[in-house]
């Protein structure tokens, strides 16, 4: 992989004199820092996903915990991340050291991998899982702030696209690696944990060495010849950010997890349950293939527009899942639409949050948007489960599709400020 370090080394050598913008023509190239962050995420995702994929097998098969216990661990996975995300964003802004906050987050996840080698009971395993998710929660917003700080305003969405693409490649490799190891060594869990640890450490080292310590607030102070602005909660109460959070939250409420859509597809088509994992692979492949093109188009055509259009793809996926026709072609179309939805919304949301937040509260703003999405989707999952039971599979799907169809124009009105400016600077 080509990584140019020409604009990285000087900044790193002299962290006290930042403010250099990469001199290369930023309209055509994504910063090497973004690529480095993408590779860090890729290795970290290989590390995380290789363990996640086999954790249910490990817990129930080797440690011997029962069904209920697994439910609790899974719940931990979900809850912790959202809560600490805001804290990570705040810490990054407050200290103006997003790199080291992210480094701390990646670091504790790596430490959790060491714990996995020794965890042998329910309590120990819960602690390890909690620690890992803690790290993920802490690092996400500062890392996205670094991506923003390392990108030009006119290639921001593309930068996020590059990062998410590399991230998803890691998420695809991890489970393959883990199942491959189990195929050759049926009780090879410790090997998976060791491999996972190696990738985690590698990710942390790459972050430490390759990514310069961007200091958004200090850089801005130098660029504008003003004294360094302080972190103010007030900055988060910006009208544009409020509208973005509202939009993200509202749309999150009608975003049922793709796991549910797979369940709909499966119960409709009746294909064997053993092909279920392939659906995740299909969505991931579509996501990683479309992440960069979507980012590119978003930079030209308008990020908010692509964000809304992405939800239109989600609506199409709902319709695709709900219509009575079956067939593998239809299933493929559904997966493609889901992948397009993720490609058009995941990184783009971070880009939108960046452009709606002053640099002093950049990481907090990104964290707030991501938390709004995470929490509202959690509510959506629970709600959809209830709908499924009371209205049945098709009824639930139709209700959610209708709700999304109604909300889309509403959110377009809420986001009108964003939609008007196609190219934001």
């Amino acid at each position: 992989m080509y990584i140019s370090l020409s604009d990285v080394t000087p900044t790193e050598k002299t962290p006290d004199v930042p403010g250099r913008r990469p001199t290369q023509s930023a309209t055509t190239r994504v910063s090497s820092v973004v690529i480095a962050l993408g590779v860090v995420s890729m290795f970290t995702d290989i590390s995380t996903e290789s363990v996640s994929a086999i954790l249910p097998l490990y817990i129930t098969g080797v440690i011997g915990l029962s069904t209920v216990a697994y439910g609790v661990i899974d719940g931990l996975y979900q809850g912790i991340s959202a809560v600490v995300r805001i804290a990570g964003g705040y810490a990054a802004d407050r200290g103006d050291q997003p790199k080291w906050v992210a480094f701390f987050g990646y670091g504790i996840s790596a430490v959790a991998r060491i714990g996995l080698l020794f965890a042998s009971g329910f309590a120990a395993l819960s602690a390890v899982v909690a620690l890992d998710r803690l790290g993920k929660g802490v690092r996400t917003a500062p890392r996205d702030a670094l991506i923003t700080a390392s990108s030009e305003p006119d290639n921001l969405a593309r930068s996020f696209g590059v990062h998410r693409m590399l991230d998803t490649v890691g998420a695809a490799i991890g489970p393959l690696l883990a199942f491959g190891i189990l195929f050759f060594i049926p009780d090879g869990y410790s090997t998976i944990f060791v491999v996972s640890l190696a990738f985690a450490i590698l990710g942390v080292i790459l972050l430490g060495v390759l990514v310069p310590n961007k200091r958004p607030r200090a850089e801005r102070a130098i660029a504008t010849a003003q004294p360094k602005a302080r972190f103010r909660w007030r900055d988060l109460n910006d009208r544009r950010l409020r509208r973005l959070l509202l939009t993200a939250g509202l749309l999150g409420l009608v975003t049922v997890g793709d796991g549910f859509i797979y369940l709909v597809l499966q119960s409709k088509s009746g294909f064997a349950a053993e092909y279920f994992p392939l659906l995740y692979v299909g969505t991931n492949v579509a996501f990683l293939a479309l992440a960069i093109p979507m980012g590119r188009v978003a930079d030209r055509f308008g990020r908010a527009r692509i964000f809304i259009l992405g939800h239109l793809a989600l609506l199409a996926a709902y319709v695709c899942a709900a219509i009575p026709a079956t067939g593998w072609q239809l299933t493929l179309v559904c997966l493609l639409l889901l992948g397009a939805f993720y490609a058009a919304t995941d990184g783009i949301l971070a880009a939108l949050a960046s452009q709606a937040t002053p640099v002093e509260t950049l990481a907090s703003g990104i964290a707030a948007a991501q938390t709004a999405v995470a929490l509202s989707r959690l509510i959506a999952s629970i709600g959809f489960g209830l709908l499924w039971f009371s209205l049945g599979r098709d009824g639930a799907m139709i209700v959610v599709a209708l709700a999304l169809a109604v909300l889309l124009p509403v959110t377009a009105v809420i986001l009108r400020d964003f939609l008007r400016v196609a190219r934001s600077a």
Binding site: T9, S52, F179, I185
Partner: protein, 338 residues
Amino acid sequence: MTTGRKWLALSVVSVLLLGGAIAYGATAYARYQARAAAPSEVTTTTALTTTAEPHIVFRNTAQGQGYGKVATVPIAEPSTARALTEQACDRVYATNEVLSCLRIKRGVPTTFEAGVFDRAGTEVGSWPLPGIPSRTRLSHDSTLVSTTSFVTGHSYATVGFSTETVVSRVDGESYGNLEDFTLLINGERLTAADRNIWGVTFADDDTTFYATAASGGRTWLVHGNLAERTLTAVFDNAECPSLSPDGTRVAYKKNSGTPDDPHWGIAVLTLTTEEEVVLPESKNVDDQVEWLDDSTLLYGLAREGAVGDSDIWSLASDGSTTPSLLIEHAWSPSVVRK
């Protein structure tokens, strides 16, 4: 540090880390091969126990050759050499006619399968399972089979944890997922989306069964009816029930901890009087109990300090004795009385 040196250092670190991981994997592979090829740590025989004689069918967890294979010992002499079959199962249950085998098929991706075999080892039928094998039971007359698997989410889109428990006729016809049965708690229909059903035990009439229902952190012993497609709660806090051979009592796991930090002991409920006796087993039990006879229970316990190994213990069903070790290096017992 110059850019060149930095890359050199990074390359060296990468090679060391990934090389170290590969080396670890290679030795683990070699160790596994050696272990699988080594003689079993218990005495085994290939002479099959005759199915005419009362015997216990279980999963052999002794390290070495035959690990994970279905094995049998006579009830009269449980500590004699175990007769190993060629069949590998993660959960097994048998009657004198058929054997139910739940299996993890390792691969990319790993999948799960249920199969019913006659006692000569010929497959009667098989079907994919949606998740990790957990429990299986057969009715005494070998006409009904139940399977429970854990359906787990994926980190990218977690559907959440759930169990799927299906009852089928051995000859193929399925009664479907028990979650679709009407669940009644204190006479009220429970419709919560988080309800889960697991751990079936069959009565002798081919209609009645017992199972566990759970919702909102609570569990119930439920009485099931295949003809009416209903599940009716009969007792609180009871998981993985097992009906006694005479049909008067149910043994089950009872949680003395909290839903978040469970500690399961064993209890026996007399169905007519609703009298519950908690048995003197202090270890955490995660198995569906099996009745050796009308007064003795069998269950598996993980062997401390040995990953993937377990033992089968026995315990008087009235609480009059403390647990005793019955079969070492064994899991998933089922008793074939005739």
